[in-house]
C-alpha cells in the first residue's frame, strides 16, 4: 500500500502539486528549539503519548505542544487557554480549550478562551478544514494540559516541602492529601511558570473514567451568550478609526478582465469617496483576487449604491462560453466512455459481460454555492511594510502567507486577527477577500473593509464541482453483485491551482470513489477527463457528496431490482467485518491519515447501519405516501448512517417527518456539538437536494441571491432529527464530525422518495421532478 505522505491540507496540496515550494517544516523545528523560552526539554514535535498516529505532523507547520504557548494562569486563578483554530459553528473554539482544561484539572467556569492570531510557527497548523481539528488535536491538547498540571504540581510540592508524588491537581487547586493543605492555581502560577516543561515520557494523562468534561453531556459554546446579545464579533463587525468601506465589481466571467470603466455617475452618489481599479490575477488564480473596480465610501450602503452606477467594460476571456446544459452533456458523454482507471480489482469487463443482469445508474449533481450566512468580508490596515488583517478565515496561517506574498512584505510583518466566522463550509479557506482588503488599504493608506454582497458571494464563489457519476452493477443469477464499475467525471479543485487539469486529484478520488467499501469480486473505478471553466473549491464534505450519492442510490436501485430490503442489501454489499485491503489503489489519500490507525473497518460501517436501523426503527410501518430510505458513508475517517422518512403528497410536495443519523467518530469531546452538526447536515443536505443549483450561461452565474438560489427554511425542515452516537472503544482515535454528516443524507432521502412514490431521482436538485 502506498499512502500519500503529504496530508493535502489546502496548502499541503498546493505544495504537492508544485505550486508553492516552501520548506516550512524544517523552519518550525529550528524555531521551536531556539524560541524565547528556556526549555528543559524540546517542544514535542508530535503526540508522543498517543496510542495512535495521526497525519497532524504532516500538515504545514505540524503540531506545537507547549503549555507556555497555549496556557496562561493569572494570579487570581483565571486560566486563559488559546484557541488556535477558527470558530464557524462547530464549537472548536470551545472544545480544544476544554480538552486542555480537562487534563490540567482546571475549573471550566474559571477558564477564558482567547483566539490566537495566525502564526503557525508559534501554534502549529491552523487550517480549520477537513474535519481535522479534534482528530489532530485531541492528544496534543491533552498533553498540553497534562504538562501544565505537572508544572503546577511540581511548584506546589516545592512550596509545601513534600514529594511531588504526594500532591494532586483537583479542580483548580493542588491538594496535599496527607495534610489536607491546598494551593490554588493562581497562587502557584508564577512558580509553575519557572518549572521545566516535563518530558513527554514523564507525562501522565488522566484516566478516562476521571473525565469531568470530555465526552460528557452539553458544554455550551464559549461564545453563546455573546451571540444571543449581539456582542459576538464577526469579520463584518470590525470597525477601526478612519476605516473606509469598499465593495468591488468583479469580472462576471471567471478569468475575465477589466477593459475600462466610467465612474462619473458613481462618484456623484452621496457618501462615495473614490473609485479605483483592483488588481486581478490571471486564471487559474488560486486564492488571488479576481480584480475589478472598487467603490470606496463612508458606509457600505453608499458603496453598494455607487457600484450600481458604474459603467464597466469587461473582457470575458476564455470561459465566456461556459454553459451548464451543454457542459452536462459533455460530462455525460465522457461518463459513457472508458476513462483513466484509478482502481482495479478482478476483471470488470468480463464480469459485466457474463452477468445475468446489469443495472446502470447515471447521476448528475450540479454546482453548489457555499453561501455562508456571513458573506466574505475583511478589514485590512496596511502601513508601510506592515499589514494587519481582521477577517473570518479558516486558514489564518495561509492568509498570513498570502497577504505577505501579495504585498511583497515579510510574513513577520503581517498580523492576522481571526474573528468569528459567520459560517465557512470551505469558502473561508480561500482568503481572496482578505487580499482584496490588503491591496485597497495599501493603495488608500487607510484601513479598509471590503464587504461582499450576497450577489458577489454567489457569483464569485469557489463552487462545489459539478459531476456525472455512472455506475454499472452486474448481478449473477442469484442476484449477487459480481461486478461494479463507477465512472466519476467532474472538474477538479486542482484546476484552481494548475492549468490543464483534467482529472480529479487523489484527495477527490479518495472521497468515496476509490475507497468504496463493498465486498465485490470485480471492481473498477474510472475518472474520465473534465475541464473546469470556473473556480472550483472545497465545499463541506467535497467529492463525497457526488460519490456517496451515486453509490448509495445504486444500492437502493439494486435492492429494488432484486426485491430486497434496502438495509439488508446494504449490509450484504458491505460484506464481512474486515479491514479493507486497498493495495490496488495507487494513491489512497485516506484523509491524510495513516492507514494503520485509520483503516477502513467494515465492522464499524456495519455497526452504524445496525445502530441507525435499530434506533431509527427501520422497517416501521409508515402512512401511505411516506417512505423510508437509508444510506451509509465513511468520510473524514468517520462512519455515518442515515435514515430519512419522507412524505410526498399527491401534488408532489415533499416533507420530511423524521431523520435518524448514527455516527461513529471514535473518541469525542462534546456530544452536544456532534448533535448540532448532524442536525445541521440534515438541513443542509435537504437544502442541496431540493434546491441547490448554480448554473452558467455565457460564462456567468445565473443566480445571485436567496430569491433564485433558495435555501431550506424552517417551515420545510425535518420535524425531528435524532442523533445516535456510537460509544468509542478504548483508544479509538477521534475522527471528523463537521462534514461527514452531509454525504449520506441526499441518497437516503432519494431512496426514501423511491420507497414512497416509486420515482427514482437521479438528478439533483429535485426541483419540480416530483410534481404531478
Amino acid at each position: 500500500m502506498n499512502i500519500m505522505t503529504d496530508s493535502k491540507s489546502l496548502r499541503g496540496f498546493q505544495k504537492h502539486i508544485g505550486i508553492e515550494n516552501v520548506s516550512r517544516r524544517s523552519v518550525v523545528k529550528a524555531l521551536g528549539l531556539a524560541g524565547g523560552f528556556v526549555l528543559a526539554a524540546p517542544v514535542l514535535s508530535r503526540p508522543a503519548l498517543a496510542a495512535y498516529e495521526t497525519g497532524a505532523d504532516k500538515m504545514p507547520h505540524g503540531v506545537v505542544i507547549d503549555p507556555r504557548v497555549f496556557v496562561a494562569i493569572a494570579p487570581d486563578g483565571t486560566v486563559t487557554i488559546l484557541a488556535h483554530r477558527a470558530e464557524m459553528g462547530t464549537g472548536v473554539r470551545t472544545s480544544l480549550p476544554l480538552i486542555v482544561a480537562e487534563e490540567m484539572e482546571a475549573d471550566w467556569s474559571r477558564v477564558r478562551v482567547e483566539q490566537a492570531h495566525g502564526d503557525e510557527v508559534k501554534y502549529g497548523n491552523q487550517d480549520t478544514d477537513g474535519s481535522r481539528s479534534t482528530r489532530h488535536y485531541l492528544m496534543p491538547m491533552r498533553q498540553i494540559g497534562a504538562s501544565a498540571r505537572a508544572m503546577l504540581e511540581a511548584a506546589a510540592a516545592k512550596r509545601l516541602g513534600v514529594p511531588v508524588s504526594e500532591v494532586k491537581a483537583v479542580n483548580h487547586e493542588i491538594v496535599h492529601g496527607a495534610s489536607g493543605r491546598k494551593l490554588g492555581f493562581g497562587e502557584l502560577a508564577a512558580d509553575a511558570a519557572k518549572e521545566a516543561v516535563p518530558s513527554p515520557a514523564s507525562l501522565k494523562l488522566k484516566d478516562a473514567k476521571d473525565f469531568r468534561y470530555l465526552g460528557k453531556g452539553a458544554i455550551s459554546m464559549v461564545d453563546l451568550r455573546d451571540i444571543t446579545v449581539g456582542a459576538a464579533r464577526y469579520g463584518a463587525d470590525v470597525r477601526l478609526p478612519g476605516m473606509k468601506y469598499a465593495v468591488i465589481a468583479r469580472p462576471p466571467v471567471t478569468g475575465g478582465k477589466l477593459v475600462s470603466f466610467d465612474a462619473s455617475e458613481a462618484t456623484k452618489v452621496s457618501g462615495v469617496e473614490k473609485v479605483m481599479e483592483v488588481q486581478g490575477w490571471p486564471w487559474p488564480s488560486k486564492f488571488q483576487p479576481l480584480g475589478g473596480v472598487a467603490v470606496i465610501a463612508r458606509n457600505t450602503g453608499a458603496a453598494i449604491k455607487g457600484r450600481a452606477a458604474l459603467k464597466i467594460t469587461w473582457d470575458d476571456g476564455a470561459n465566456a462560453k461556459y454553459e451548464s446544459v451543454a457542459y452536462r452533456a459533455e460530462l455525460e458523454d465522457a461518463a459513457r466512455k472508458p476513462g483513466l482507471v484509478v482502481r482495479k480489482e478482478g476483471d470488470v469487463d468480463s464480469a459485466l459481460k457474463s452477468a445475468d443482469k446489469v443495472i446502470t445508474g447515471e447521476y448528475y449533481l450540479p454546482h453548489f454555492a457555499h453561501v455562508s450566512m456571513e458573506p466574505p468580508v475583511a478589514v485590512a490596515d496596511v502601513k508601510g511594510d506592515k499589514a494587519e488583517i481582521w477577517a473570518p478565515v479558516q486558514s489564518p496561517g495561509g492568509t498570513r502567507e498570502d497577504v505577505a506574498k501579495t504585498l511583497g512584505i515579510p510574513e513577520d510583518n503581517v498580523t492576522v486577527n481571526v474573528t468569528l466566522l459567520g459560517g465557512g463550509f470551505g469558502r473561508k479557506s480561500k482568503c481572496d477577500y482578505a487580499l482584496e482588503a490588503a491591496l485597497l488599504s495599501k493603495a488608500l493608506g487607510a484601513p479598509v473593509k471590503v464587504q461582499w454582497t450576497r450577489e458577489d458571494d454567489v457569483r464569485h464563489d469557489f463552487l462545489h464541482t459539478v459531476s456525472v457519476e455512472r455506475i454499472e452493477a452486474g448481478l449473477d443469477k442469484n442476484g449477487k453483485v459480481i461486478a461494479w464499475r463507477h465512472r466519476s467525471v467532474a472538474p477538479s479543485i486542482a484546476s484552481t491551482f494548475a492549468p490543464n487539469t483534467v482529472h480529479e486529484a487523489s484527495f477527490e478520488l479518495g472521497m468515496g470513489l476509490v475507497d468504496m467499501p463493498f465486498e465485490i469480486a470485480n471492481i473498477q473505478c474510472e475518472n474520465p477527463e473534465a475541464t473546469a471553466h470556473t473556480r472550483i473549491g472545497w465545499f463541506r464534505s467535497v467529492s463525497n457528496i457526488p460519490h456517496a450519492f451515486a453509490v448509495q442510490s445504486m444500492v437502493g436501485e439494486i435492492a429494488h431490482a432484486t426485491g430486497r430490503d434496502q438495509k439488508d442489501m446494504l449490509l450484504e454489499l458491505i460484506g464481512s467485518p474486515r479491514i479493507i485491503d486497498l493495495s490496488s489503489v495507487k494513491d489512497l489519500w485516506n484523509y491524510g491519515e495513516p492507514y494503520a490507525s485509520y483503516p477502513i473497518d467494515t465492522a464499524r460501517l456495519r455497526r452504524v447501519v445496525e445502530l441507525v436501523a435499530e434506533k431509527g426503527e427501520w422497517g416501521r410501518s409508515v402512512p401511505k405516501g411516506h417512505g423510508l430510505g437509508i444510506a451509509v458513508h465513511r468520510s473524514f475517517v468517520s462512519y455515518i448512517a442515515t435514515i430519512v422518512e419522507v412524505a410526498v403528497d399527491d401534488k408532489g410536495k415533499l416533507t420530511v417527518p423524521r431523520v435518524d443519523t448514527a455516527i461513529d467518530c471514535g473518541t469525542y469531546v462534546n456530544p452536544e456539538r456532534i448533535q448540532s452538526q448532524l442536525e445541521g447536515c440534515a438541513i443542509m443536505g435537504l437544502s442541496l437536494a431540493k434546491y441547490g443549483e448554480i448554473t452558467f450561461k455565457d460564462g456567468k452565474v445565473q443566480q445571485g441571491n436567496f430569491d433564485d438560489f433558495p435555501l431550506l427554511r424552517i417551515d420545510e425542515a425535518p420535524l425531528v432529527t435524532n442523533v445516535h452516537i456510537v460509544p468509542p472503544g478504548p483508544d479509538t482515535p477521534p475522527s471528523g464530525v463537521g462534514e461527514p454528516g452531509l454525504p449520506p443524507f441526499a441518497p437516503a432521502l432519494i431512496n426514501a422518495i423511491f420507497a414512497a412514490t416509486g420515482k427514482r431521482i437521479r438528478n439533483l436538485p429535485i426541483g419540480k421532478q416530483l410534481e404531478t
Binding site: D223, A231, T300, S372, S687, N705, I714, T721
Partner: protein, 150 residues
C-alpha cells in the same frame, strides 16, 4: 435632518435619506449586532423592531424610521436576559451564530403578537429567517420554551 430613537437613544442623520437602516446602524451608529445576509429582505439576518414590529433593516430607508423607535438585538433587554435570549442559551441554539440576532428579534416580535404560538405558527412566523447552519429544530424548541416560561 432625520431623527430616530435607537434602543432609546436619539440618533440623527443628515446624509442620504435612502440609506438602508441596516448600514446606518452598522456603519454610522456602530451597532453591529444587526447583520447583513442578503440585502433584499430574503433572509432575516437584519431583523430589528420598529415600534415593536419585526422589520427588515436592509430594505428600510433611514427616512422611513424618522421619528420612530428602533430596537436592535443590543437593546432587546437591558441585561440580555429576554425570555427568548434565555431560551436560546438553554437550548444551545446557535452554530455559527450569524443569523441568530435576526432570529431572536423575529421570535421576540412573534411572542409580542402571539404569546403562545403553535408549532405551525412558529414555522410560519420564522420562515423568513434563514439559518444556513441549520439550527431550525432548536429555534423552534427555544421559542416553545420561551413561550412557556424559561
Amino acid at each position: 435632518m432625520i431623527k430616530v430613537r435607537i434602543n432609546g437613544q436619539e440618533q440623527s442623520w443628515d446624509g442620504d435619506p435612502s440609506l438602508p437602516l441596516l448600514w446606518f446602524l452598522r456603519d454610522e451608529v456602530g451597532l453591529t449586532g444587526t447583520k447583513f445576509g442578503c440585502g433584499i429582505a430574503a433572509c432575516g439576518a437584519c431583523t430589528v423592531m420598529v415600534d415593536k414590529a419585526a422589520t427588515r433593516a436592509c430594505i428600510t430607508a433611514v427616512s422611513d424610521v424618522d421619528g420612530r423607535d428602533v430596537t436592535t438585538i443590543e437593546g432587546l433587554h437591558p441585561t440580555g436576559d429576554h425570555p427568548v435570549q434565555k431560551a436560546w442559551r438553554q437550548v444551545n441554539v446557535p452554530q455559527c451564530g450569524f443569523c441568530q440576532a435576526g432570529q431572536i428579534m423575529q421570535a421576540a416580535a412573534l411572542l409580542i403578537d402571539n404569546p403562545k404560538p403553535s408549532h405551525d405558527q412558529i414555522r410560519e412566523a420564522m420562515s423568513g429567517n434563514i439559518c444556513r447552519c441549520g439550527c431550525y429544530q432548536r429555534i423552534e424548541n427555544a421559542i416553545h420554551l420561551a413561550s412557556t416560561g424559561v
